[in-house]
Symmetry: C2
Subunit: 556 residues, 2 copies
């Protein structure tokens, strides 16, 4: 088959929420010219990725085909869409396109990695377009929880594809462009082949609420607070930060921004003209001289992150500021599943300080989601009338539900998780190939493969503890002295009440005393045997089998 | 001060949800005769307690005063109330009292630890009482999410205290005694000094719903399912298991119980006469011959536990049974905060199999809480009219809110977290002392202290990886060959692209070559220096500082 085709291939973000990376291509099979949409990260956790700093999609497939990659487009500046760009840009070697605010954030990342700021090119909103190989791509404004979010209008020889990016249908978004159904209808008019669509909130059955809806309740709340008010939200939700700041200002409070991300985002929004009339802020130093009932802190760390401003304030001071009895702490945010423990820890620490915590559980509405709910997804399909819908940006359950929803409306759809290459050329999406995909971990300064076994070994040490067994053999393969054990992460005594290290050394010493010449002369066999004995001895003594490192030194 | 006093001292469960253990005492200060109410566990997690099997309250204070301990009372058979009993019973040396169902579960635990079944004594419900030192204690039936939950009526020389245990106000609990407001009013009539009260749902603003309310919706759901139905809930929620089984039976399905806890709980409920008319169950073996549309599985693992039946079914087969496209999986449960990741993992795995997952998010009501909501807590106070309320069974935020609620009703209250000894003798609770409390970990077969540093070391290895550095010195303190490194949980190469182990050995070798005689002759100094160099070298190479074990062998 040599006829050309239009392909879609998610390398990240389909079958998970996070690390978005979607490839589109057009051309003869295996010779398609390619573009990449988004290049984001996922955040690690202690359960599966202890010590890891960031998680990236495995980009090997695209790196191997970099000669066919014409451009990278970033839909918006959330970390799960832009966070990996600077880590892969050199190896991908294609220009990066984004709108001004997103480009500003992307350039800061490039700069931190020593890449030229010219690596990121600013594009204006639709109808401006970029030519990238066989594709003409435009940034179509759409509302979300960060400024200048855009869908991509991807025009190719086989028609128009709309990649929604993350979105909600918000006609009063506080900051940035309102959702414009007329503009969208106009763009969709020439017929849309495929809508590749955000699936995050497909299980939310009510129409989404506008960002503007939270303002009045926040204002009432802040106005009634007797002490200092501290509020947290996603730093990138510039509209929310503005709403909070204005509520503070109207209550006669001075605004303090705490946390690097909070300052950085507001700075980027002002620099790029997205945010024009943000209330005046005071520095933490100046804030110390202001009576607490006249202060409003806007802080990072709505997800309970241990090092963020909110966690530090919950534990003690931050930048010389401290919360006290009678102050109020507002979570203008939703806890992302998996982050509950960290958030609850903060709430309890604040409770210990006598701070009144307000969140959604109090019955008020201080947060709205940035993603389209189920009825909004239907409205989007009704507006765009695509030939087919490819759900993305969701776990398997979300994609599956979104496919079902689409099919119930009589439209073609495909459930394409990471690595599923679809041919969009026909009347319905067809799976043409499964590509091996995966995850890459940034661990310290090194990128390691998720399947390298490195993190697996760390998890095992965390679960089981670690024993180092040292044996020295002389020129004749005779043990020189007794074996030596060092323990880490293990109890000092077990069942026999003798020191565990003594019990292990005794058992290993007995084995060495009985070991055959053949065993003593064979490093691999000796190591295997010593490991087994150390593990069994520990199992008897303390009821668990530690990880064991055996060090055999031979004098010669 | 030598006058006698009535004391209350939580050793676990106050300032957290889990590992309940409450001490009451009466007598001259420091000579009080004591009783213990409940002795439960908390479950570990990878974040803070990797590899730990169970978490207990630190019982040292009570063990040191065991000669003053007259009895242990268990309010109900949930693990956070009874789970630690067999681990501490020998060291506490007091008789254990519980009602029949709870006693049945407690005895199984005692039996597993080789303790006599006679260690647990069965007590009938109020008005039967037990004499324990200066106290007369009775089990007052109260509704909860497990059979035979009871409040304790603790009568002492200074009056009556009611310890609610976990409870809800449910007059139609499906299994077990309905909440009986008349009985409670009668017990409260002689005046109640203190109500020591469950705080779990103090933030839930609506009155709680009855267990009976979920039956009809579950029945409708099961009746409409085309394939196999699999439902999970807490195994100990015998009423729910019954409701689910009956819904299956009415839909003409054979019932299969999967998971040890599920079978054990139903067995205990039948043995003790709590459960009389449970539908007939079939074995997994027999179930294989039954068409899937005629089967209903009731399985453990509603919290996403990796080894439970639900997780195994989500991954593949369990006892020869397998879920397939078109089957339904019902979570008749709520996800406890912190367990979201595990539950979501299962839902996505089921989605991959094409199984339809139903949980609360679908809009139906398939679960109710077992704890009293805020209005129910108020109703309880209005009924009992205690002189004072001591909130328990809650995190700090719950206790604080419960204190506020109580005070708003014009009643005395105290926020007493673990270790806070209250004197209840006066008109209001008074803090008399702070006792050092904490946690003990069951790690394999050994109990270790939470502050021993063992788990901290394991967490550090998980975050940073581990290096073993081996150095051999001869009789003259001269290094014999080069130092040797073994890595675990670390990448093979870093910045220089040379093997990390080579870089480390090179840097350590250079140091050894330059080291002074004094350093080479001093094990402590040599170890400190080698650690520092290995960590710094790794930091440069891979951007993280591993944990290091240094093994120095001296030939002599």
């Amino acid at each position: 088959m040599s006829s050309k085709r239009m392909i879609y291939l998610p390398l990240g973000g389909a079958g998970e929420i996070g690390m978005n990376a979607y490839v589109y291509g057009y051309g003869a099979p295996d010779q398609e010219r390619l573009i990449l949409v988004d290049l984001g990260v996922t955040f690690p956790d202690m359960d599966g990725t202890p010590g890891v700093d960031l998680i990236f999609p495995d980009m090997s497939w695209l790196i191997e085909r970099r000669d066919r990659l014409d451009a990278i487009f970033i839909t918006h500046a959330h970390e799960d869409h832009v966070g990996a760009i600077a880590h892969f840009w050199e190896r991908l070697g294609a220009p990066v396109y984004a709108r001004a605010f997103t480009a500003n954030i992307a350039r800061r990342k490039m700069d931190e990695h020593g890449h030229s700021e010219k690596s990121v090119k600013t594009v204006s909103a639709w109808p401006e377009t970029v030519q990238a190989g066989p594709f003409t791509v435009g940034f179509l404004p759409i509302s979300h929880s960060i400024p200048e979010s855009s869908a991509l209008v991807i025009d190719g020889p086989e028609g128009r594809v709309i990649h929604t990016g993350d979105f909600k249908l918000d006609e009063t978004p506080v900051v940035g462009e309102p959702f414009d159904p007329e503009l969208w209808a106009e763009v969709a008019k020439p017929s849309v082949k495929a809508l590749v669509c955000d699936s995050t909130n497909v299980f939310s059955r009510h129409p989404g609420r506008s960002e503007a809806s939270v303002g009045p309740e926040i204002e009432t709340l802040v106005a009634s607070a007797p002490g200092m008010v501290c509020a947290t939200t996603f730093a990138s939700n510039v509209a929310r930060v503005k709403t909070l700041a204005e509520a503070g200002q109207r209550a006669g409070r001075s605004i303090v921004l705490l946390g690097r991300a909070m300052r950085r985002m507001i700075e980027a929004a002002i620099e790029t003209g997205v945010l024009a009339d943000f209330p005046k802020v005071v520095s933490p130093e100046d804030a110390r001289a202001i009576p607490r009932e006249n202060l409003m802190l806007l802080v990072t760390g709505s997800q309970g992150e241990r090092r963020a401003a909110s966690a530090q304030l919950a534990r003690g001071k931050y930048n010389g500021l401290e919360l006290k009895e009678g102050d109020m702490f507002l979570f203008s945010s939703k806890t992302i599943p998996g982050n509950e423990r960290g958030v609850i820890r903060i709430i309890n620490q604040l409770s210990e300080k006598g701070v009144d915590v307000v969140d959604e559980s109090a019955g008020g509405h201080y947060h709205v989601s940035g993603h389209a709910n189920r009825p909004d997804l239907e409205a989007m399909q009704d507006l765009v009338k695509p030939q087919m819908v490819i759900p993305m940006h969701g776990e398997h359950r979300h994609l599956r539900e979104h496919v079902k929803l689409t099919q119930s409306k009589g439209r073609a759809a495909a459930l394409a998780v990471n690595g599923t290459m679809l041919n969009l050329s026909g009347n319905r999406p067809e799976v043409v190939e499964y590509i091996e995909t995966g995850r890459t971990y940034l661990d310290g300064s090194v990128q390691v493969g998720a399947l390298d076994g490195i993190i697996r070994d760390r998890i095992r040490m965390a679960l089981n503890g670690h024993i180092t067994v040292t044996v020295i053999l002389d020129e004749d393969d005779e043990p020189l002295g007794a074996p030596w054990c060092d323990l880490m992460g293990l109890p000092e005594t077990g069942r026999s009440h003798a020191p565990l290290v003594d019990v292990l050394e005794e058992d290993l010493g007995q084995f060495l005393g009985r070991a055959s010449e053949k065993t003593l002369g064979d490093d691999d066999k000796l190591e295997t045997d010593l490991k087994r004995i150390a593990r069994n001895s520990a199992q008897t003594e303390i009821g668990k089998k530690p990880e064991v490192t055996v060090v055999i030194s031979r004098l010669s």
